[in-house]
C-alpha cells in the first residue's frame, strides 16, 4: 500500500501537566483521557463523531488505573458514541507521538478519514517508575551484553554525560533556562491555546461535620515550572544515580501526570465539514541505539524523519526535544548541532514535566499551536526512549 492522501491536524488539546502526587493526585488517568477526548472533539464543531475511525492512545505503563485498554475506557467515559473504538499503544516515552503517527497513517492509507491520537499517563498511580511489579528476565543478568536493559534511566544519562562530555554546570545551566522559558511562556499565556483547563473534583472527609466534602478547583497551568530555580540552588543537589555523577533531580525531567489528544482528518473531511487545519503530518521515524546511552536516540531518529519529510535541518523553525535529562538533551544539541534558540522555546520537561506516554501528544499540541502563533513553517517533536530508541515526527504548519 502507499499513501493516498495527507493527514491534517485540526485540533490539539492537553491538560495542564501536574507534578506527580500534585494537582492530579486524586485524578485518574482514564478521567484525564476522557477530558481531552471531549475537548478535542469540541474543537471541531459539526464533525460527526461516528466518523472517528479509531482512538489510539499512548501510555507507557498501561496497568492498574491506566490498564485494561485505557483507550477504550477513556472513549466510553468521554461520552463519545460507543461505535468509536480505542487502542492503547506503548513505546515508552514516545507513545504519544507514535499514536499521532499511527493515526495519521490510517488516514494516509485511506483506512480512516477521521482519527484521534492521544496520550495519558499518571505517574502518581505507579508505585515505581517501572510499573507496579518490577520484574525483569533473569537472562538480563546472565549475559553482560544484556545488562544495560536493567540500567535506570538516570544511569544512562550519566553515561551520555561522560561520553559526550556534558559537565554538571552545563546541565544545571540548561535546567535553569528551561524553567526560565517555561515561566515566561506561562506568564505570557503562550500555552492557553493548547490547554483545556481541568476541573478537579475531590471527595474529602470533613472531620468536624462527619460528612464527605466535595472540593472543586481548576487546574489551569502546568505545575512544575519554578521561578526560583538558580544555578546556586541546583548546585546544592546531590547526584542520584552515580556516586561521582552529575545527574540530579534538578537537571532531570519531572515525574508528572497529564493527557493530550490530537484530532486528525483527511482533506475530504476538511472540506466536508469546513474545518481549518493547524498543521499537516509530514513524517515520523524511530531508530534503535545502545540501551546504555538511550538518551542519544534522537540523534539516530531525527535525520531519518527529516529525510522522509524531504526537508533539511535548517528548514525547521521549532523543535520540541523532550528533556528527559539535560545531559542527553545537550548531547543531542551538540551532536547534530541544533539551534538552541529553536529548541523548546517555551521550556521543556525539566520544567514542564514528563508524563511518559502522554508527552508525545502533549508536545505535538505545543508545537502546532506554537507554529501557528509564531508563523513558523516546519516543526519537529523528538524524544529519547528507554531501552535505547529515539523517535522524531515532522509537521508543517498550514
Amino acid at each position: 500500500m502507499k499513501q493516498i492522501q495527507d493527514a491534517y491536524i485540526v485540533a490539539a488539546v492537553r491538560t495542564p501537566v501536574a507534578k506527580r502526587k500534585g494537582l492530579f493526585k486524586n485524578v485518574r488517568p482514564d478521567e484525564l483521557l476522557a477530558h481531552v477526548l471531549r475537548e478535542v472533539v469540541a474543537k471541531a464543531p459539526g464533525l460527526d463523531p461516528t466518523l472517528i475511525g479509531d482512538v489510539i492512545v499512548g501510555c507507557a505503563m498501561p496497568e492498574a488505573e491506566q490498564g485494561m485498554n485505557v483507550a477504550r475506557i477513556g472513549v466510553l467515559l468521554s461520552g463519545l458514541p460507543n461505535c468509536v473504538p480505542g487502542i492503547t499503544i506503548n513505546r515508552f516515552c514516545s507513545s504519544g507521538l507514535q499514536a499521532v503517527s499511527d493515526a495519521a497513517n490510517q488516514i494516509r492509507l485511506g483506512q480512516a478519514e477521521v482519527m484521534i491520537a492521544a496520550g495519558t499517563e499518571s505517574m502518581t498511580v505507579m508505585n515505581h517508575m517501572m510499573g507496579n511489579k518490577v520484574t525483569v528476565s533473569p537472562d538480563v543478568f546472565a549475559h553482560d551484553e544484556n545488562r544495560a536493559i536493567a540500567f535506570g534511566m538516570g544511569l544512562t544519562a550519566e553515561k551520555v554525560a561522560t561520553q559526550w562530555q556534558i559537565g554538571r554546570e552545563a546541565q544545571d545551566t540548561f535546567a535553569v533556562e528551561s524553567h526560565r522559558r517555561a515561566c515566561a511562556a506561562i506568564a505570557a499565556g503562550q500555552f492557553s491555546a493548547e490547554i483545556a483547563p481541568y476541573e478537579i473534583v475531590e471527595h474529602l472527609p470533613d472531620g468536624h461535620s462527619g460528612a464527605v466534602r466535595e472540593v472543586r478547583r481548576w487546574a489551569n497551568d502546568d505545575e512544575g515550572a519554578r521561578g526560583d530555580v538558580t544555578l546556586e540552588s541546583l548546585a546544592k543537589l546531590r547526584p542520584v544515580f552515580h556516586a561521582k555523577g552529575s545527574v540530579t533531580a534538578g537537571n532531570a525531567s519531572q515525574m508528572s501526570d497529564g493527557a493530550a489528544a490530537v484530532l486528525l482528518v483527511s482533506e475530504k473531511i476538511l472540506k466536508q465539514f469546513n474545518l481549518v487545519p493547524l498543521a499537516r503530518f509530514c513524517s515520523f521515524a524511530v531508530a534503535g541505539v545502545p540501551p546504555e546511552i538511550m538518551g542519544i536516540g534522537p540523534i539516530a531518529a531525527i535525520p531519518k524523519a527529516l529525510q522522509q519529510a524531504g526537508i533539511g535541518q535548517q528548514d525547521l523553525d521549532w523543535i520540541e526535544l523532550n528533556e528527559a535529562f539535560a545531559a542527553q538533551a545537550l548531547a543531542v544539541l551538540k551532536d547534530i548541532t541544533l539551534d538552541p534558540a529553536k529548541v523548546n522555546p517555551q521550556g521543556g520537561a525539566i520544567a514542564l514535566g514528563h508524563p511518559l506516554g502522554a508527552t508525545g501528544a502533549i508536545r505535538t499540541a505545543t508545537l502546532v499551536h506554537g507554529l501557528q502563533r509564531t508563523g513558523g513553517k516546519y516543526g519537529m517533536v523528538s524524544m529519547c526512549i528507554g531501552t535505547g530508541m529515539g523517535a522524531a515526527g515532522v509537521f508543517e504548519r498550514l
Binding site: 508505585n127 507496579n132 511489579k133 518490577v134 520484574t135 525483569v136 528476565s137 533473569p138 538480563v140 543478568f141 545488562r147 536493567a150 540500567f151 535506570g152 544511569l155 550519566e158 544515580f241 552515580h242 556516586a243 561521582k244 555523577g245
Partner: protein, 798 residues
Amino acid sequence: MNFTIRKAAVLGAGVMGAQIAAHLANADVPVLLFDLAGPQGDGNRVVNKALAGLKKLQPAPVVKRDRLQYIDAANYDEHLEQLRDCDLIIEAIAERMDWKNALYTKIGPFLSSTAIIASNTSGLSIAALADGLPEALRGNFCGIHFFNPPRTMPLVEIVPTPSSDAAMLDRLETWLTTRLGKGVIRALDTPNFVANRIGVFSLLATMRHAETFGLAPDTVDALTGPKIGRPKSATYRTGDVVGLDTLAHVVTTLHASLPNDPWHVLFSLPGWLRGLIERGALGQKSRGGVFRKQGKAIQVFDPTSGDYRDSRNEVALEVTAILGMHDPVGRLWALRTSSHPQAQFLWAIFRDLFHYCAVQLGEVAESARDLDLALRWGFGWAQGPFELWQAAGWHETAEAIAADIAEGRTLSSTPLPGWVTAPERSGVHAAQGSWSARQNTHVPRSKLPVYRRQIFPELLLGEIGARPESAGETLFENEGLRFWRLPAVDRGIGIVSFKTKMHALGGSVIEGMQAALAQAEAELDGLVIWHDAPFAVGADLKELMTAVDDREWAKIAAYIERFQQTTMAIKYAQVPVVAAVQGLALGGGCEFAMHAARRVMALESQLGLVEVGVGLIPAGGGCKELALRCARWAAESGTATEQLARLTPAFMAVATGKMAKNAVEAIDLGFAERSDPIRFHPRELLFAALKQARALADIGYAPAQPVRGVPVLGRAGIAAMEMTLVNMREGGMISAHDYRVSRAVAEALCGGEVEAGTLVDEHWLLAVERRVFLELLQTPETQARIRHLLDTGKALRN
C-alpha cells in the same frame, strides 16, 4: 487505685517541650502540645512549626515518623478546654517566673482536680512557682526536670514542694520509670537541682583549671571525655552541643541564685567564651562555637591566639598510660603524683569536684546515691563523683584533698565537712544504703513497688546489691554461658546469660544453648535469654578465621549447620523461649532473637543482619526467617505481587547491613514481630521476659510445626533484586565484591535459583544459606574483610 495517664499536655513547644511531647508519643500517650496562638486562621502555627522541626532533629526524638501524628497541636486561645481530659500537664515554657505564673492562672480553671501539673524548669524555684498556683492545685504540683535529649537521657529530676502530695509524687515516679523508661531521682528545690548544679560546676572548674595549666580546649576535651568515663562531648563540646548562650544563661542563674556558695566566684564563663557568644558563635546551632567544621577538618578556637586552628589530640603518652590503669586507687594516686601538667590538671578537676560535692551534698541532694546517679543519667558519666572517690580509696583521697586545701591549691578554702573525715568512714555507699548528709545517716534505695520490676537495678561502684553473675541458682555453666534461675521470682524459668566478650556467639555458646534447651525441655517451663547490653554482636569471627586459615571447610560447614540447628532448636523448643533484647543484636545475635517464641525488647535496641560488612550473608536462619515472614505477610495481604514488595525492603536492609535504630523499626524490618512487647526501661527486661515466658507456659505453649509449602520468589525475585545491584554497581556505589555478596543475599532470601512460586520448606532455605555462605567465605575478598575487622575493629570496603 490504678493510676494511669490517659492523655497528657505539654505547654510550650520549644526544643525541650516538643521533644518531651515526642517521647510521650513514643510511649503511646496521646499528647496535646500547646504554644501561643498564631494569627487568625493559623492558630497552631507555632506548634506546627515545632512539629516540623522535630522531623529534622538528630538524634530523632521519635522512634518512628508516624508517631508525630499522635501529637495534637493546640494553642492557648482556642484549646484550653481540652486540658480537662489531661491527667498530666508538663509546663516547659521560657524560664520566666512571671510568664509561668500568668500561664498557671490562665489554665487553672480548665484543669481536672486530679491532674498532675509539673514544671520542666531547670532554674527557677519550684516552691516559688507553686506560690503562683491556686491553692487547690498545689498538692498536685512539682518540678519535673528532663534532660536533653529527653528520649535517650535517662534522668528525670522530680522536685517536690512542701505542699506536694506524697502519693502523687510516688505515682508520677512510678509512671515515669516504667512507662517512659526514665531514671528518676527526687531532687531538692535548690538552684539548678542536682545534675546541673554539679555538672555545670564541673564544667566551670575544668575550664578554670584549663586556664591555669595552659591547656587548649581540644586537649581539655581529649582528656575529659571517654578517657575518664565521660561522653565524647567532654567539656567544651558539651557547651557547643547545648549552646554556649544556654550555658551562659545557666551560669548566670547559678551566679545570681547562689550568692553564698563558697565557689561563687567560679560561676562565670571565661572571657574568651563570652567573646564567642557575642560574635554569635553559639555552638552547633550556629555551625560553630568552640569547635567548628571547616570542610572535613575540625577546627578549635584557641584562646591564646584568639583564632581557630586545626584540632589536635595532644594527650601525653604517660597520661594515657595512667588513665589506662585498671586499679582506681593507683590511677588517682598516679595522677596526683605525676609532674605532667595534664595529669596535674586531671587531679585538680577531680579534687575540686570531690571537694564541692562533699561540701554541698547536704544542700543539693538527699543522698550521695542520688547525686551519683544524677551525673550518670543526666550527664552520661560512667561513674558519679562519690563512687569514683570511694573506689580510689576514701581516706587517702580525703587526706590528699585536705592537704591541697591547706596549701591553697583548691578553688575554695572551705574545709571538708566532718562526716567526710570521720575515722570510721570508708565511703558513702555501703550495705545499709548511701550517705545522706542531711539526715546524717545512710539511706536505702526507694521501696516503691515499681522498682521490684528492676530485678538487678543499676548499681554504683561500691554499692552492695544483687549482681546477675552471682545471683540465683546455677543450673550449669560453661565457658560461653551460664544457665541459671531465680527461684525468688520463678523457679520454673531458666535463664541463659552469655559470658563471652560483647556476648559473641562461639562454639561454647552454641553448645551451651543446646544443653540449656534440652534441660529446659526436660525440667522447666520456659527459657529466657537475658544479660546486660549488648544482646549479642554476632558469631565469633576469630574462631571462624582460625578454621579458615587451616582450610577446614568441612569443619566450618559442620559448624554452620550446628548453628542453624541451634536456632531451629530455639524456634521449635517444647517450652517457650523468650529473648530479652537490649542494645546491639547483630548477625547471629539477631538470628537467635528472631527464632525465639517472643522477643521482649528494650526500646533502645539495635537489631540487624549486618553480615555483609564482613562479606558474608546471614546463615543462621536469618535469611530463612525473613523469607518466611515476607511470604506470610504476602499471603495475608492476598495479593501475589506483595511478596516481592515485602521482600525488597528486607533485601535492602540485609544487603546494605542496615541496623534497626530501635525496637519499633526492628519490627518494621522483620527482625521482630508486632506481638513482641517493648519496654522503655531496660532494667525491667528480665522481669518482663520471665513474666512473658511464664504466661506463655501457663496458657499451654506448644511450638508450631516446622514450616512447609512456602512459596519463594526464586529466579524472578533474584533478577528483580539484581536490577538494583546492577545500577548501584554501574553507578559506582558498590564494589564488585559488594555485588557478589548482595546477590548471595538475594539468592538466600529468594530460595535459590528455582522458579518463582516454587514451594519449599525450611530445610531447603537453610541449605541455600549454607551453600552461599561457604562460597563467599572461600573468596579472598571476604577473608580480607573478616581479617580487617578482627585487626582494626573497622569494616573494609573491597
